[in-house]
Symmetry: none
Subunit: 240 residues, 2 copies
DNA sequence: TGGCGCCTGACACACTTTGTCACAGAAATC
DNA sequence: GATTTCTGTGACAAAGTGTGTCAGGCGCCA
């Protein structure tokens, strides 16, 4: 994990989202919020989330089933929040795959302690496993990208050396083609950090990447600029 | 065993993990923790653990069955911890393969004495009998690695001599392909010690290994550098 | 259409991280 | 105990990354 851990709060009450958000931000975490399962999935797809705080009671899909599907698809740690008086037992939450369980109302100190404990626990073991679940191959334009070998290969067989930063940025783009990604999102996805006011590092990295990928870097076809919005990876990507 | 012994504490109570952890760290041990069987297995896969402190009562899989499976797969020594009032007898724990048995509450002096005794005991027998449970053969790129003979053989039949340090580092890498390993992890896995601030020994050793493994050491394909992250062993490894 | 302000591309430069070599102390071997 | 081999440290070179600057492009408004 680079930079501050990124926490996603999933709760249908705005007041709770704002309150918890303030507490976590004050403690140095990066925070995103979602009001329901749909928003949660969107944020998970668009950011590099380190931990999910999930309310048990949600309108539509409830927290338990969300937790289960989340667990099936990834191994992002989950802390379950439940309203006081819920009949649910800690055990049920943990059986659904939650890493911890916290009954409302809870103090901010306790919340933060639990988050740090879960992060510490999963970090020790996850650094390695999550990094590359399994090697994948992507194809786009005249390029092939091998995540196992960390290599970019042109269709004539020549390998194009990529620096770590260029590689990480390219992965972030290739995994989200035909979508506008803001500089914030790219920084989060590729570097795991947030931008400060005058951050131009993504621009520089895009420029370097274009110089290696594009036939004519002055007229980019692969990574297009969305004026005022960010960048978009335009080619069709065939996966695996 | 090189460096300070690395102890893994497996207990579902955070307070106990933290308390025991502090005691052991203060006595010079290196410590990792896990809250359940799943976390335990991951840590065992990612670190070189010398001894496991295992709570008998765990949610999900209980300590006894964990101990049994642990024993089936490796010969890492285990000390069982049981809550006061447990009906279980020392004998049962030992029958499951534990090396010692310690009822809660226990004093820190007693805990440390037992750990040292078990380590001393198993160290003697392990060095005497066999270091490796069984010989394995790995294949990657154009190389074959025989852990029985501690030999690296190129596909044209020539053997490449490796020093002990190079061999240990290579094993650590080969057993975790396509995963980014930090210098800390590699130092732990290959040398059994932790890094101090300006430790560059892994870099040097990687450089030496590349000079022997890579076709072109200046453009490494097998051991790749992850800038700001560590190293990654990229080739597909066929085991045995 | 021209002017203005903001956004982006490109590049140089400072700074951090990594590669490599020489060397000295440690360890192994004889 | 002497010699050889191995390993970690320091030093310097090389590579990677982010910031600042300047030039040019884009949208907006008159």
């Amino acid at each position: 994990m680079q930079g501050a851990p990124h926490i996603l709060i999933v709760d249908d009450h705005r007041e709770i989202r704002d309150l918890v958000s303030r507490v976590l931000v004050k403690d140095g975490f990066r925070v995103s919020t979602a009001a329901d399962g749909k928003a949660m999935r969107k944020t998970l797809a668009d950011s590099r989330i380190d931990l999910v705080l999930l309310d048990l009671m949600l309108p539509g899909e409830d927290g338990l089933s969300l937790c289960r599907t989340l667990r099936a698809a990834s191994n992002i740690p989950v802390i379950m929040l439940t309203a006081k008086g819920d009949e649910i037992d800690r055990v049920i939450g943990l059986e659904m795959g939650a890493d911890d369980y916290l009954p409302k109302p809870f103090g901010s100190r306790e919340l933060i302690a639990r988050i740090k404990a879960v992060l510490r626990r999963t970090h020790e073991t996850m650094t390695a496993t999550r990094a590359e679940p399994r090697a994948k191959r992507y194809q786009f334009d005249r390029w092939g990208l091998d995540t196992g070998a960390r290599e970019l290969i042109r269709d004539d067989g020549a390998t194009m050396p990529l620096s770590t930063g260029e590689y990480d940025l390219l992965i972030a783009l290739v995994e989200r083609p035909q979508r506008v990604l803001s500089r914030d999102q790219l920084l989060d996805l590729a570097r795991g950090r947030t931008a400060n006011a005058l951050d131009r590092s993504i621009d520089t990295q895009v420029s370097r990447l274009r110089k290696k990928l594009e036939r004519d870097p002055a007229d980019p076809k692969i990574i297009k600029t969305v004026w005022g919005g960010g960048y978009m990876f335009t080619p069709a990507v065939t996966h695996e």
